[in-house]
Structures are given as structure tokens and as C-alpha cells.
């Protein structure tokens, strides 16, 4: 157990160091970017209803998103929509409004300015970082170009949709009365690689432990309760190894799961104390079993 803790400490150090590793950023691509004049560089990006920029035939609408591709006179956003580029489209930096070395390529973030008159994109302001929202998607959805007429997808109908909102889920478990007070109870989940010490629970009273974790709605979580190792994982009431419990996170403000553990995998019902971790000088049993041999690493 001691070694396990040191392992964890070393792992923490590695993880901390790893957190300083640089993100995998797409390399900046130089290319034939229209070089605006010095005056243009100083130009403030036009307001939503401004009439600047190449000959707008209607109101200007801005929409921010991430680019999938830029091809054949269209720019494709991660919404899956293609928008027609104006022949005189301007490519600028999203922060400065001036020229940029960025290209409208895959993964680049962009703020597209639409001419509501013809639905074309007259300006693309590019950034390597996510841009704040401007107009809503529904405001520019009508400008999307597609050959086929859209129609409803039966896959997406008559089913509960999951919003992906964070839902605090409280797990409360009742443990056997023989559970040593000094033992910890953990949740092992598939989301944490079935580590037997993935989520430690807090004691509520002599028989109950609980913990609250937030999961996106729609999450399907498999889990089992343990006392810190797979040898001490929960069993079914009939002594058989228990299949993982299943949790489906619903669209709700909170969710509560109440479970009962009937027995532990390392439980010897005929031993006066579960685990028998403390040897005493007085041991009248005529046969001393060795301590648990296989320990978690």
C-alpha cells in the first residue's frame, strides 16, 4: 500500500510535468494573403450593421465558428454547412482586424461576415483561438448552400436528446456492517480505466458513504464499489462477482444513485474482523493463513 502511494506520488509529478507540455497546435501556414493597405490595417472592424466592406447588398451578419475546409469558393464550418465566399472576400486577423498569416484551413477559428443581401461571406477574420459567439446559428443557417433539399432524419426523431449539460450525480452506498471503520470505500469506473481507487467516497455514517461527481447528461457510466483493490471489490449477495453497475445520466439538475453492497470480495465471514489486518499475541485459531498475498500495485 505504501509503495502504491509512492507510485501515485511519482505519477502525480509526471502528470504535473506533463501538463507543461505544449499543446499540439497546428503550424501557422504562410500563404498568399491579400495585403491590405496601412489604412486598412488601422481600420476598426465594421459594426454589425455597418455598410463598409466590399459592396454589401444588405445587412452584415457575423458568425463565429471553426473551419472544416476552404475549397471551390466555399468555406465549410464545423456546423457542416458550406457558405459561398464573395469573390472579393477579405481575410483578416480576428483580433487586430489587420492582415494575418493564418489561412482559412481545417481547425482554424473564424468570424465570418455575411452579406445578408446575397448570403455570401465577405470577410473572414481568423484566429487560432476560439472566438466569442456573435450571431446565432439560426441567423445564418439560411445562407448555407446544399444541392439536395434537406429533410427530417428519422434517427433524430422521437428520442430523448441529451443536452450534455453537467449533472451533479450523488452516489450513496450502504456497506456491510462488518466493514472496518478505518477502510476507505471507492468507486471504480470504466471512465477511469477501472482503477480500484478512482473516486474515494466520504463517510456519512457507520453504514453509508457518498460522493458527488458531475457528468455530462447522456453519459453512460459503468462502476463498482471497492475498498481500494480489486480483491476487495463488492460481490453480489450470493457471493458471486458482481457485474458492473450501470448509470445513465439524465437531463436533470441533480441525480441520485442509492446502492447497497452486500459483501466484499475479501470478506471472510468466519473471521472475527474483516481483513484481520492487526495481528494480536492471542490467536487461538490453529491455522494461520498468510496475509493477502497479491496486493494492488
Amino acid at each position: 500500500m505504501k509503495s502504491h502511494r509512492i507510485l501515485c506520488a511519482l505519477f502525480a509529478a509526471c502528470a504535473l510535468a506533463a501538463s507543461y507540455a505544449g499543446p499540439l497546435g497546428a503550424p501557422a501556414r504562410a500563404g498568399a494573403v491579400p495585403t491590405p493597405s496601412a489604412a486598412a490595417q488601422m481600420q476598426t472592424p465594421p459594426p454589425l450593421s455597418a455598410t463598409a466592406t466590399p459592396s454589401p447588398s444588405g445587412q452584415l451578419i457575423k458568425f463565429s465558428g471553426q473551419i472544416l475546409d476552404d475549397r471551390a469558393g466555399f468555406v465549410f464550418f464545423t456546423t457542416g454547412d458550406a457558405f459561398r465566399l464573395d469573390p472579393d472576400v477579405k481575410i483578416v486577423d480576428a483580433v487586430t482586424g489587420g492582415p494575418t498569416k493564418l489561412q482559412p484551413v481545417t481547425t482554424t477559428y473564424a468570424r465570418a461576415t455575411f452579406d445578408s443581401g446575397n448570403g455570401r461571406v465577405v470577410q473572414l477574420a481568423l484566429s487560432e483561438k476560439k472566438l466569442p459567439m456573435d450571431a446565432a446559428y439560426n441567423d445564418i443557417k439560411r445562407f448555407a448552400v446544399a444541392l439536395s433539399t434537406p429533410y427530417a432524419n428519422p434517427d433524430l426523431q422521437h428520442k430523448e436528446g441529451y443536452t450534455g449539460q453537467g449533472v451533479p450525480v450523488t452516489f450513496t452506498v450502504e456497506v456491510p456492517s462488518r466493514t472496518p471503520y478505518s477502510d476507505e470505500v471507492y468507486l471504480a469506473t470504466d471512465a477511469s480505466g477501472w482503477s480500484a481507487t478512482a473516486i474515494r467516497m466520504d463517510r456519512v455514517d457507520a453504514l453509508h458513504y457518498k460522493v458527488t461527481r458531475t457528468f455530462p447528461s447522456g453519459t453512460r457510466l459503468l462502476y463498482r464499489y471497492t475498498r481500494g483493490s480489486w480483491r476487495s471489490a463488492e460481490n453480489d449477495q450470493d457471493g458471486l462477482q458482481r457485474k458492473p453497475r450501470v448509470l445513465l445520466v439524465r437531463n436533470s439538475d441533480v441525480q441520485t444513485e442509492k446502492d447497497v453492497v452486500y459483501s466484499w470480495g475479501d470478506e471472510d465471514q468466519f473471521s472475527p474482523t474483516l481483513g484481520g489486518s492487526i495481528p494480536t499475541p492471542f490467536n487461538p485459531v490453529p491455522f494461520n493463513l498468510p496475509p493477502v498475498i497479491v496486493k494492488p500495485h
Binding site: F74, V145, L147, S148, W194, Q269, T280, P281, F282, V285
Partner: protein
């Protein structure tokens, strides 16, 4: 002989794992196509404002009208097979379980369909991927199709595509049928969503990965993040199977462990370990898993590179819904390399559990082999045979213990907040070489025993209810466990264990638990009690062969009492303080055990509970997914030597 057999088994397992793991992609590609499956009937497209001019180059056949058979059967099922990804750079973000590939991305699906593009994102947990930027799909025997992005939802067998013909369009492929896309069908809102990975660290880089959906990813080669540097390895095998049997481990503890999963498949995993402890220092170990939903077999050698080796085997098989077998086998051998060992001991635990109505039967067999080796020819001056040198004595003992137990379910006592459980057992203990017990001039090499017991426990009872309704209640729980065990030697043992606990919730963030525990153990010899326990100040334990200083008047009846107070503070969901005070009163009095020096670490092996013990524990998050757990214990100078527990306690939780 048995020893060599074990080595052969382990070698075979490692070989089979390696072969199985590396053979997986090839096998996956040879998977025959499944049953044909056309997409759901497509209603006639309603008139709409969007552009509807036909494609300039009709590369694909339009979707057939409802009722019209498909021109060719679609290879349903191939999407569930493994697929290969190559790119200039593939990065794995372990915190998010996301693969990202950039530059010359080439995805080869199970049926040979190739998807190329500029970027690739794969959310392993959602089991879907996106290829974006200058995308080309080339299905076997079909014309290539060009587009801006392609998304594959493997769980739903749906492919979503943004083709570029004369103008862009939106297509949906169902059942892997690229010849008959559903034109214009609405797509999920986040079909082409590219996750924001800024700020996330990369665990491993590669240029080639084979993804087995919902199971594993194999990177070859791999550069793995060790914090300060990325270290190249020939391959790295990431297992993220939902099968918890992969988590079973057969390795003993170590101070530090660096596992490297290098081969595997849907049912196998081979792991090399670099480990450290203060005795063996830096050493290598090996572990092998073979699992399914209803069985596992885990084998390990630890350490591989030191003379004192342990061969561990864990096995589990769910033979039927109501019957399971588990086995644990451990062999400890002292051998240089894989030469003839100088000592080899083993332990086997075999357990068969069968479900009955409202109860179950459990047969448990323990076998201890104090030596697996044949009798040596060399004998020490003391007359004890040995291998190599006298530090490896040959001891032929083979104790065993077989128990058949019946255990009842937990039942409620009428409508009371009480539950009870019954149990009984019958067993036999045997050791022909060294007697189990000597009493009254008789050597007991075999003993039979039988036991009955019950457990009575209350549920959480509300003693004082919070009048404000804020659940700041006072709860009470109690438990009584009683057991009697008879032996063929003339004595029986009674155990009575009583626990009572009060819990007061002062605030949702503050909980206080006070527990009293009383354990009585009596060894009854009847009229021969004085012979077994003469009441001296020293006590000779016939089972351990050791003599202890105990409380005068001890006649085989022990009492262990403890009063435990625990305060739990949870100011936030991620921050927890835990303070525990334990006061113990043991009879016979506790003894300070000998200090054991394991490497550079001091351990205390006490007999009984320290009279006073304080534990402090605090947990707090250090990153979004990692929590640091620090705890320490204080023993109030127990025995004049013990104050603090030997070490701090750190735990990282995810």
C-alpha cells in the same frame, strides 16, 4: 518439475499475447461482410428553398425509392472492425481520450475503404471520428468522392459527408453503403464538431495507430510523455475496454511502477513494467491478461531481473449464472535468471461459489507448499537439507485447509429496522509434517472444525430529527456478530463483536461519527483451561511458536475495545478534511512488535492496537482530473518508539 511447467506456461502466454495483438488488424481486415442492410425508407424530399440542381458529375447512384431493392448489398458490420490511421503526426490526449492527427491523414476502414484528409479527430469514448479538409473517400471498386469533411458514427453505423460536386451537399451513408447516400438528410448538430484541445497535454505521439472501437488503440511507433521528455518506444497499446476484468492485477506492491502495455487485443493484454522498491531497487516485471466478460486469467512474474521471483496467477471463471470458480496461485522462487531455483514455495487458493435460494455455498481450499523442490542431497551441520547454501533450507511441509461454508442472505426481522444473516461451515486442516497443535502430550496433525454464526445489524435509525428540516439529524446504527467454532482438539472458540455508532450531521459539510467497538474472543478448554492458559505473565502461542509478554491473569479470554471519533469536513465537492481519533483498550495488552527494516523503510509490526491513534487526511484537486490525498497518523509514543506513522500518504485519484 512444476516450476519448469510454470515457466513454460508464462512464456507461452507472452508469446501468444504478442502474436494475438499484432495479428489483430490483419484478422480484422479479413472479416467477411455481414448481412446486407439498407437505410430506412427515404420520404420524397419536400420542396425547399435550397439549391436542388443535380450534381455535375453523378458519381453515385441516387437513393432507391422505398421498396426498391438496393443495387448491391452493403457490408454492414465492417465499421465495427479495427481501422488504421496514418498521418504525419498523431497525438493522443489521455485526459480526454481523444486522438488527433494532422497532415496527410489516411484512415483505412475495416472493409478497405480509405478516407484521406488534412485532419482527424477521434473521440474514443464516443466512438466516432471526423476527417476534415480536402477529404477523399475511396471505397473498394468505386469512384472516389471528394468533399470537405467526413464523420463516422461507429455505434450507429452512420457516415456523414459534405461532398463538393458542382456545389456542396450533405450526404448520409448507412450500413457502409457508399453507393446510395441519403441526399440532404438532416444530420446531428455536432456531427463535425472538432474538440478544443488547447491546454490539454499529449500523452503520446505516433504516426500510425490501429483503433479497435470500444476496445483499444495500438500506436506503432510511439513517443510517450514522461513529463520532461518524450521517450520513443516500438509500440504502445492503449486498452480502454469497458471490461473490468482487464483491471485485475497479479503484481505485488512496489514503490513505483511504470507499466507499458505493448501488445494485446480484445481479449488479451501484455504489459511490461519497470518498477522500484527499496529492496530490489530498479527491476523489470511482466504481466499478462486473458479476459472475456465471464472469465479472466492474469499471470505475472515479478521481478524478472532479481533472484527472488514471484510467479502469480489469478483466474476466474463464471461457469454459469449461479456458479463461479476463482483461483489464486503464487510461487516464490529464489533463482538466478531462470536456472534451477534454490528455493520454491507456493500458495494456492481455490474457491467455488454456488448460488442457492436466499443463500449460497462456498468451497474454499488453501494449499501451502513450503517447498516445491525434491529433497536435496546436501545437508547442513544441523542436519537440515538445503539447496545452494544453508540459507535456503528445504522444508517439506504441506499444510492445507478446506472449508465448506453455507452463507445466508441478509433478511429483515419482521418490519423492524433490523437485518440478520446466518452462516455455518465445516472444514478440515491438515499438516502431516509439522503438528498443527500440541496439547496434553498429543500432536494434532489433522483437525476438523465446524462453526455457526449470525450477524444482527440495524439500519440507520434517526434518533433526533432536525426540526428545521435541513437533515441535521442524529443517526444510530448497531451491529452484533456472534460465532462459535468447535475443533476436534478439545476446545471451542467464541467470538462476539459488537459495534454501535452515532452520527451527527451538523451541517451538510460537517459530519461527526462516534463509534464504540467491543470484540470478545474466548478459547474454551473446559476443565483443561489452566493447562492451556496457566495465567502466567508470559504466553506461549502454540500456533506461532512464540512467547509473548501478556497481562497477568490471561486465561484465553481476550477483549478488544475501541472508541473512535471521526470528523468529516467537506467544504466543497472537491475538498475534504477527515480527522479521526481512536482510543483502544486491549486485554491482553498490546505489544510493540519488532521494528522491521525493509530496505530503507522502517515498519512496525505490533500485536494489538496502539492505545491512542490520530489520523488526519485532506484531499484536494491539483488538476482538473487529479486529486491529491495526503494523510498521516500519530501514535502518541506507543511503546516509547512510535509517534508518527512511517510515511506520508499520497494518493492520486482520477
Amino acid at each position: 518439475m512444476q516450476f519448469r511447467f510454470l515457466i513454460v506456461v508464462v512464456c507461452w502466454l507472452s508469446f501468444s499475447a504478442a502474436m494475438f495483438g499484432f495479428a489483430l488488424p490483419a484478422a480484422a481486415q479479413q472479416q467477411p461482410p455481414g448481412a446486407p442492410g439498407a437505410g430506412p425508407p427515404v420520404p420524397p424530399p419536400p420542396p425547399g428553398p435550397a439549391a436542388t440542381e443535380p450534381p455535375a458529375v453523378p458519381l453515385v447512384t441516387p437513393t432507391p425509392e422505398p421498396g426498391q431493392p438496393s443495387a448491391s448489398p452493403s457490408p454492414t458490420g465492417r465499421r465495427l472492425d479495427a481501422y488504421r490511421v496514418t498521418a504525419k503526426r498523431i497525438a493522443f490526449y489521455s485526459n480526454r481520450y481523444i486522438l488527433r492527427a494532422d497532415g496527410d491523414v489516411n484512415v483505412t476502414l475495416g472493409d478497405g475503404t480509405r478516407v484521406v484528409g488534412n485532419a482527424f479527430y477521434n473521440d474514443l469514448r464516443l466512438n466516432r471520428f471526423v476527417v476534415a479538409g480536402n477529404v477523399t473517400i475511396q471505397a473498394p471498386g468505386q469512384h472516389p468522392v471528394h468533399g470537405a469533411a467526413f464523420a463516422e458514427y461507429l455505434d450507429f453505423d452512420r457516415g456523414y459527408f459534405v461532398p463538393i460536386l458542382s456545389e456542396p451537399d450533405r450526404w448520409t451513408f448507412t450500413g457502409g453503403d457508399y453507393e446510395h447516400p441519403l441526399l440532404g438528410r438532416e444530420m446531428p448538430g455536432d456531427t463535425f464538431y472538432l474538440p478544443d484541445l488547447s491546454g490539454e497535454s499529449v500523452f503520446c505521439y505516433s504516426s500510425r495507430a490501429v483503433v479497435d472501437p470500444r476496445q483499444s488503440v495500438r500506436f506503432a511507433p510511439a513517443r510517450i510523455n514522461f513529463g520532461l521528455v518524450f521517450v520513443p518506444f516500438p509500440s504502445y497499446f492503449l486498452n480502454y475496454s469497458p471490461n473490468p476484468n482487464f483491471a485485475q492485477n497479479a503484481l505485488n506492491g512496489a514503490f513505483a511502477d511504470g507499466p507499458l502495455d505493448f501488445a494485446g487485443g480484445e481479449h488479451a493484454l501484455a504489459t511490461a513494467h519497470v518498477r522500484y522498491d527499496s529492496v530490489d531497487h530498479l527491476f523489470a516485471a511482466y504481466e499478462e491478461h486473458q479476459v472475456s466478460d465471464n472469465h479472466y486469467f492474469v499471470a505475472s512474474i515479478n521481478p524478472l531481473t532479481r533472484p527472488f521471483k514471484q510467479y502469480n496467477f489469478l483466474a476466474y471463471d463464471r461457469i454459469s449464472p449461479g456458479l463461479q470458480v476463482t483461483a489464486t496461485f503464487q510461487e516464490s522462487a529464489f533463482q538466478h535468471g531462470f536456472s534451477q531455483p534454490l528455493s520454491a514455495t507456493a500458495f494456492l487458493e481455490l474457491q467455488v461459489t454456488g448460488s442457492l435460494p436466499h443463500s449460497y455455498l462456498q468451497l474454499t481450499d488453501y494449499q501451502f507448499y513450503d517447498s516445491l523442490l525434491a529433497a536435496p542431497s546436501t545437508v547442513s551441520s544441523g542436519g537440515r537439507p538445503y539447496y545452494g547454501d544453508p540459507t535456503h533450507p528445504w522444508i517439506p511441509d504441506h499444510p492445507s485447509n478446506v472449508q465448506l461454508a453455507w452463507l445466508g442472505f441478509r433478511h429483515q426481522v419482521y418490519d423492524l429496522p433490523l437485518t440478520y444473516q446466518l452462516r455455518s461451515s465445516f472444514g478440515a486442516v491438515n499438516n502431516t509434517d509439522t503438528p498443527l497443535q500440541q496439547f496434553g502430550g498429543t500432536n494434532f496433525t489433522k483437525e476438523y472444525d465446524k462453526a455457526v454464526g449470525f450477524n444482527l445489524a440495524s439500519k440507520s435509525l434517526t434518533v433526533l430529527r432536525d426540526p428545521t428540516g435541513q437533515r441535521r439529524d442524529l443517526y444510530f446504527t448497531a451491529s452484533l456478530d456472534k460465532q462459535r467454532e468447535w475443533y476436534s482438539a478439545p476446545h471451542h472458540i467464541d467470538n462476539t463483536n459488537f459495534t454501535a455508532s452515532f452520527t451527527k450531521i451538523f451541517d451538510p459539510e460537517v459530519t461527526f461519527v462516534a463509534t464504540y467497538n467491543n470484540l470478545n474472543t474466548g478459547d474454551f478448554y473446559g476443565a483443561q483451561q489452566d493447562l492451556a492458559y496457566p495465567g502466567n505473565a508470559t504466553y506461549y502461542n502454540p500456533f506461532t511458536g512464540l512467547t509473548y509478554d501478556v497481562s497477568p491473569g490471561f486465561r484465553g479470554f481476550a477483549t478488544y475495545r475501541a472508541f473512535i471519533q471521526q470528523l468529516v469536513l467537506t467544504p466543497s465537492r472537491s475538498l475534504t478534511f477527515n480527522l479521526t481519533m481512536r482510543e483502544s483498550r486491549d486485554f491482553p495488552r498490546p505489544l510493540v512488535g519488532p521494528l522491521q527494516l525493509t530496505g530503507d523503510t522502517v515498519n512496525f509490526v505490533n500485536y494489538g492496537n496502539p492505545p491512542l491513534e490520530a489520523d488526519f487526511d485532506v484531499r484536494f484537486p491539483i488538476t482538473r482530473v487529479l486529486v491529491l490525498d495526503v494523510s498521516r497518523s500519530y501514535y502518541f509514543n506507543f511503546g516509547g518508539t512510535e509517534r508518527w506513522s512511517p510515511q506520508f500518504r499520497f494518493e492520486i485519484q482520477k
